[in-house]
């Protein structure tokens, strides 16, 4: 186990190895990841009913703390919480507290005073979800909805669910992640998940300026030439490219990026004929991906969104379950002490 994994393991699991926070995939084993996928599978059925609710979080309050705007991720978390029958509080902290100079610690104290049971956190800084998990009162579950460049574990897990639905297994799969790996929390979590779940090969395809230092240490191989990287692929995951990258001398132009690393029909033809195409969204048509590919038969981009709700339901119910179990355990130890 790496030092990172050990640190994360300690923070997000109960003593019995149940989830109590969901901050990163570091330190989570294959059995637990599979459990998340299986639980999500069972929730997919809920979304197909006319009454799309289960009572697992009834009477619980879930606060969505978005320090960075994101319509899609927030909506799917909100829907997931509501389908679990929770009360949901949406807070765009970007525009309220922090602009008045309130510190994150103070914001948290205020929210805890409102008796929330779970915080779903999106923040621009790596490690924000860890910080919050370490600062909140015991009993409140923290779900990381993306922190800086560090992790976006629910996105990675919904991607894994989508892959499993289409491929049945991870064994023997060749997967590539293409584009801005350096700035991507999604890529870091995906590489980790694919390694843990047993994918045969994880390739990252990007120019040198968009790769973190010693990226191979994360568990992948590097390919600068996309045509070579596409060979025999079963899954290709495209990443979103931010416009700012042109200004920081990381890329010369969108046009050159698309020519070299955009997913066109020609490049897709180099992969395995049943290769699926994924993208965490929102997509930049003509920058990362050709429209015909995004809307084509190999694209599973929209089922990623649907799966997002099921994965978030799974993670939220599991983390709340871990918190409840831990509380009961503490209570019974206390009783034991008294008798």
């Amino acid at each position: 186990m790496t030092v990172n994994a050990a640190a994360a393991h300690h923070l997000q699991l109960t003593r019995d190895g149940q989830l109590r926070h969901f901050l990163t995939l570091d330190g989570l084993g294959r059995a637990l990841l599979t459990d998340i996928l299986d639980t999500a599978d069972s929730f997919i059925e809920v979304g197909e009913r006319s009454i799309k609710k289960v009572p697992l979080l009834r009477g619980r309050t879930v606060a969505n703390l978005f320090f960075e705007p994101s319509t899609r991720t927030r909506s799917t978390f909100e829907l997931a919480a509501k389908r679990l029958s929770a009360d949901v509080l949406n807070l765009d902290i970007n525009t309220s507290a922090t602009s008045k100079g309130e510190s994150l610690s103070d914001t948290l104290l205020n929210l805890e005073a409102m008796a929330s049971d779970m915080f779903v956190v999106r923040h621009a800084q790596s490690g924000a979800a860890h910080f919050i998990a370490e600062s909140v009162t015991p009993g409140v579950a923290i779900i990381n909805a993306g922190d800086g460049r560090h992790a976006h574990p629910t996105q990675a897990m919904l991607d894994m669910l989508t892959i499993r639905q289409n491929k049945g297994t991870f064994e023997g799969l060749k997967v590539a992640i293409v584009g801005d790996i350096l700035h991507s929390r999604v890529a870091r979590s995906q590489i980790r998940a694919l390694n843990e779940l047993g994918a045969e090969q994880v390739r990252v395809i990007a120019p040198g300026t968009l790769l973190p230092r010693d990226v191979e240490s994360l568990g992948c191989t590097v390919e600068y030439d996309m045509a070579k990287g596409m060979k025999d692929l079963d899954v290709v995951i495209m990443l979103r490219l931010q416009k700012e990258r042109m200004e920081g001398a990381l890329l010369p132009s969108e046009r050159e990026f698309y020519r070299l690393y955009g997913l066109s029909q020609e490049k897709l033809a180099l992969a395995h004929p049943e290769c699926i195409v994924m993208h965490p969204g929102p997509i930049n048509r003509g920058v990362e991906i050709e429209s015909a590919v995004a809307d084509g038969p190999q694209s599973v981009i929209l089922s990623q969104v649907t799966n997002g709700i099921a994965i978030r339901m799974a993670v939220m119910s599991m983390a709340m379950g871990g918190q409840v179990a831990e509380r009961q355990q503490k209570r019974s130890t206390l009783k034991g002490d008294q008798s």
Binding site: V3, L104, Q125, H130, F131, P212
Partner: protein, 433 residues
């Protein structure tokens, strides 16, 4: 149990200790007689002499007082982070008798008035000697020369730019040439600003995995190379402060072989911790320069052992607790370290990475010679001494630390080594027993 006056008479005899003088002398059961702020007698003569008080130093090591080439006492201007009373006392507890204060006070130490303010503050509130480092550039902004003539006259022992870099090589070259006029040592922390950019962690394995913004090694090494070449050309005495890369040590050794007047230091925490300390996003280890790889750590330790690195510094930088309570990238860099420098050093000795005499040298004679001072414990020397018990354990916690900064590297962990007595000018600056 600690801090109250133990020694108040006019003469003191220290008996039974092992004396290490930082120059290779190592004598067991050595007595010292201190009278009128000096070491009046040693050995048998001291043993036989009468004294008002006797300090039993059996099991302890007696060394010259430690000299810190870089720390922040936070006075004037940063009262919420610390002050002379708390931080200089913390230094005395750490065994330091002389500390050089960074010019990064508020206002910055770029005028005689501020230098005087620091010296007066030290006179009134510090049990240890405080030597101000003057600003190299006005306001530390890296654009205009500071009044180095005035700063020298007011008592600054060197000039430096604190934690800020001088972006322009042209300005840096002129600063060096001007400092050379006054025979001033220029103390610089090498960091190329445009390469370090917004980074806050070593650009290595841990940063890649955690998605932290990296400061590449070359941000330091490119700056070291530039500084060495400029120093060689201007002939100024250059002191490279707070090195973090193994490669920098090689470059310093190389320059010395060519006859460049360069010295160097490293912060104690760089010799103990690595990038791994950030694995749990622990904001205490948000440092500048960042903690680097294990290979760098080993090379820095070797640099100390071989004397390429002259001194170990505390790089003490206390903060109020709110400054460290935020997601890692939003926290202020720095550690509250001056009380645990010796203990971390003894850990290195315990691990056989440094010898005890190499440790003492790097805390006493090494740093003293960088600023043209003397650190010694012989007959007739001024009695700036540190007596410590290397075996006793203590566990720092936020209550027991004297520093206003509670973000120490080793809170809650048992450390070896307790300073029993710190004497400055023969006067007690710290005592615990």
């Amino acid at each position: 149990m600690s801090g109250h006056q133990v020694f108040s008479g006019s003469s003191l005899k220290i008996t039974g200790g092992r004396l290490l003088d930082g120059r290779g002398k190592d004598e067991s059961n050595r007595a010292l007689l201190i009278r009128n702020s000096r070491i009046a007698a040693t050995g048998e003569a001291a043993e036989k002499a009468d004294a008002d008080q006797v300090f039993d130093a059996r099991g302890c090591i007696i060394a010259p007082g430690f000299v810190d080439l870089y720390c922040n006492l936070r006075e004037p201007g940063n009262g919420q982070k610390g002050n002379m009373r708390t931080e200089a006392r913390a230094a005395a507890r750490g065994g330091f008798t002389t500390v050089c204060e960074s010019p990064e006070t508020s206002p910055v130490n770029d005028s005689r008035a501020v230098t005087h303010l620091i010296r007066e503050g030290a006179e009134a509130g510090s049990p240890v000697r405080v030597l101000p480092i003057g600003a190299l550039t006005r306001g530390l902004e890296g654009e205009m020369l500071s009044d180095m003539g005035g700063l020298t006259a007011a008592g600054c022992i060197a000039v430096g730019n604190g934690s800020r870099s001088v972006r322009s090589a042209r300005v840096l070259r002129r600063c060096m040439a001007y400092a050379q006029t006054f025979g001033l040592t220029v103390m610089l922390r090498p960091e190329n600003q445009s390469l370090a950019a917004d980074g806050y962690a070593h650009d290595g394995l841990v940063a890649s995995r955690l998605g932290l913004l990296g400061i590449p090694e070359v941000a330091e090494t490119a700056s070291v190379m530039e500084m060495l070449l400029l120093a060689e050309e201007t002939g100024v005495r250059l002191h490279l402060s707070q090195l973090s890369c193994g490669r920098s040590v090689e470059m310093v050794a190389d320059a010395r072989r060519r006859g460049v007047a360069v010295t160097a230091d490293v912060a104690m925490h760089q010799l103990i911790f690595t990038e791994d300390a950030l694995a749990g996003f622990d904001s205490r280890f948000h440092l500048r320069p960042p903690l680097r790889s294990e290979a760098d750590r080993k090379a820095l330790v070797a640099g100390v052992r071989e004397g390429v690195i002259d001194a170990i510094v505390s790089q003490h930088l206390p903060h109020e607790s709110a400054a460290k309570q935020a997601p890692l990238p939003d926290t202020a860099p720095g550690l509250s370290s001056i009380e645990s420098v010796l203990s971390l050093g003894l850990e290195l000795v315990h691990r056989d990475e440094l010898s005890l005499s190499e440790l003492i040298r790097s805390l006493t004679t090494g740093p003293a010679s960088v600023i043209g001072r003397n650190a010694s414990a012989g007959q007739d020397d001024k009695a700036d001494l540190c007596v410590f018990d290397p075996a006793t354990r203590w566990t720092p916690d936020s209550q027991s630390l004297i520093s206003a900064g509670k973000h120490a590297p080793v809170l809650g962990q048992p450390l070896r080594g307790v300073v029993r007595l710190t004497l400055v000018d023969g006067q007690e600056a710290w005592a615990s027993h």
